[in-house]
Structures are given as C-alpha cells and as structure tokens.
Amino acid sequence: MSDPALSVAQRNALLLRLATLADDELLLAHRVGAWTGHAPILEEDIALANIAQDELGHATGWLELRRTLDGSDPDQLAFSRDASAFRHSAITELPNGDWAFTMLRQYLFDAWEALWLDAASRSHYTPLAQTAALALREERFHLEHTALWTERLALGTPESARRLSNALEELWPYALGLFEPLPGEQPGIDADLLPDVTVLKERWLMLVGGHLQRLQLTPPDTAPIPRGQHTPHLGPLLAEFQRVAREHPDAAGW
C-alpha cells in the first residue's frame, strides 16, 4: 500500500500536507458553492459554481493520493470527521461576507495554491507532481477571474474600494498563515518531495503584494494567523457540509 521508497518521516510529511490541502479545498468549495443562485449576475453564479467544482476536484485528487499512502477512505475523511480533526486554514472557513470579501479571499487563496502547485509539479514524488500539474492548469483560470475582479473592485467606485480594503484588512493575516511551515513537514521538503512554503511566501508577496500595490491597496502590518486556530464558524459549516452524509450513512453511489 505504502510507497517503499519513502521513509516513515517522509510519508508522514506527505500525509500531513495532503490533509491540509484537501481540507482547505473541501471547505472553500463548500463556501464558494453557497453563492450558487445568489451571485449578483448569472455569469458570476456560473463562475463560482465552476470554481467550487474545480476545488472539489482538487480535494478529491489529494484524498485519493492520501488513500494510496495510508489506505484511508476519502468519503469517510470528508464527511465523518469532527471539527477537531480538520487541518484547513481558518481562511477557508470564514463566512462568504460580501462580494469583495469572497473575491479577494479566492484571489489570495488561488495565488497561494497556484504557487504551491507550480512548485509541487516538480516534486520528486511522482504521484504528487502529476496531480499538482493537473490542478495547476485549472488554477490559472481562477486567478484570471479573481485577479480581474480584484482590479475591478479596487478601481471601481469608492464603495467597492472601501469594501475591498476592509476585506484585505480581515483576510491578510489568514492568508499569511497559509505559508506557516507545518511541524513535521521538513523531511518531505529536504527530500524534494514537498515545496518549501517559506520560499513560496517570497514569491507570493512579490506577485500578490506587487499587484495590490499597483492598485493602491496596502495590506495591514499584522502577524500571520497559523493553521489550527479556528473560528466559531467551523461547527455550523461542518454541520451543513456533512449533514446529508451523516443522515444517510448507507447511501452508495451518487
């Protein structure tokens, strides 16, 4: 079941990172999907439904990879774990807020994800490199969309700029927290199996920070909120996300 070429520490590093990736994508897909039927215009309704589907597809990819490493069941992990076992960043559990908040969160997250995937597509762990390469192509379309919305809102009206600026104030420390190294991840980084998030952070700050600067937006000077710190929003989110699976544990197929 497990790859014999991996040491225990390397395998654990991969499992740790895969858990955070899958949980981020699952919860973000759930949040973004909640716009379906409520977005300001039909095209955006469709766009967010597409983005949610992509993120769910990526979560499936990570959970399938995890299955090959530890034999875990993806459905069980998604739908039967309690809040304390989730490893996502709180940025993905925050409620959708207004349009500016939703778009900026997606933009900051997409840029982190695209850079992580880009680096992971060169991983020496081939199954990870392949899954990352597939997801990266999709992430570029997200970035195309959310970067453009960030520009529109920043340069739109005083009201749209004000909302975007408020969203940036709230989201920035969570976004920085995405780049906090995971305890136990180092053996994977040392063996070139996993990207070094501290290197990615520099690239992200150049890419996103530079873009925001051109839009006259200044991120707050705050400390990162690391993974593991959760908000009161997680419980209700999981109750909704897992409800159907928990009510119908014997349901099979789709």
Binding site: I46, A47, N50, I51, L134, R137, R140, E144, H145, H211
Partner: protein, 165 residues
C-alpha cells in the same frame, strides 16, 4: 458454445460512439480522452484521461465506456484513469474541432506558452459564426468546466468556446 471476443479496432469503434455528456456533438475519442486500449482475451482495459479534475461528467463517461465495450462481448472492462501528461486542448482531433465549430462552440486556440500565473488577457479565438477574431471574453467560465463565454464584436453573437489548456 462460442463466445465473441472483441479486437482492439472494435473497441476503438465503440468508444468513438460514446459522446461527451457536456459536449454531445463530439465523442470521447476525438476529444482526446482515450489514451489507449488493450485487449487480452475477453478482458479490455481503457486508459481514460479527464479534461478537468473536477469534471462532473467523468463518472458518466466511465459508465458509458463500460457499457459500450461490454456490448461487444467483453467479459471484463476496466477503465483506468491516466492524469499524466494532463489532457491538453492540442489533443483534440481535427474532426472534433470541425464539429464544435459547426455547433457554434469555438474550438480552443493554442494554449499560451510561458509561466505567467496571473493572466488578465485570454488568447484570442475566432468567432464560430463569422470567423472574425475581433472577439472578447465575457466570462472565464461557462456552462461546463471546459468552456468559457465570449462575444463577437463583429457579428455581435455571443458564443461559447473551449478553454485552451
């Protein structure tokens, strides 16, 4: 008792009758989603590659593949997912490009080279109705993960196009 055992060419022919559920004017072979076929006795294995990792049609297509090949008399049909190299819009056969165009869906432009992670401009595509390249993306996303929305600024028709990957 005689059993009919399919040969590889039969399998390819059967697969070329499986439409893509979200683009029913084209079949999965001409979309470049079938990477290979092996036949050993009554056992058939089909290497299948999805276009997008979250494509909700994947399960339907896998079932359709099994059904189409089973009808040839295969005793066992296995559909393996291949994700590397990832599906590319360059994998489209010319027949698929033609059929899409006739259905009013712009075939994909060549995928942009370069590693820019943030692109604000999509590669230009020709309007499937009038052929003008004076077109504009109206949304990065469309009615399926593989499509986006455009409008032609020459003939004023809105249209969908396949994403370039």
């Amino acid at each position: 008792m005689t059993t009919v055992q399919p040969v590889e060419a039969d399998v390819w022919r059967a697969l070329s009758e499986v439409p893509d559920p979200e683009l029913p004017v084209v079949n999965i072979v001409e979309l470049g989603m079938v990477r290979g076929v092996t036949v050993e006795g009554g056992q058939v294995r089909v290497q299948f590659t999805p276009t997008f990792s979250g494509c909700p049609a994947v399960q339907v297509i896998r079932d359709d593949i099994r059904r189409a090949v089973a009808q040839l008399g295969a005793s066992d049909v296995q559909v393996d997912t291949v994700i590397s190299p990832p599906w590319s819009s360059a994998d489209l056969h010319d027949s698929a490009r033609r059929k899409l165009q006739q259905a009013g869906i712009a075939p994909p432009a060549p995928a942009p080279s370069g590693l820019d992670l943030i692109r604000l401009e999509a590669p230009p595509v020709a309007c499937p109705h009038c052929g003008s390249t004076d077109t504009r993306v109206t949304s990065t996303f469309g009615s399926a993960l593989c499509k986006r929305m455009y409008v032609c600024q020459h003939c004023r028709e809105p249209f969908e196009g396949l994403k370039s990957l």
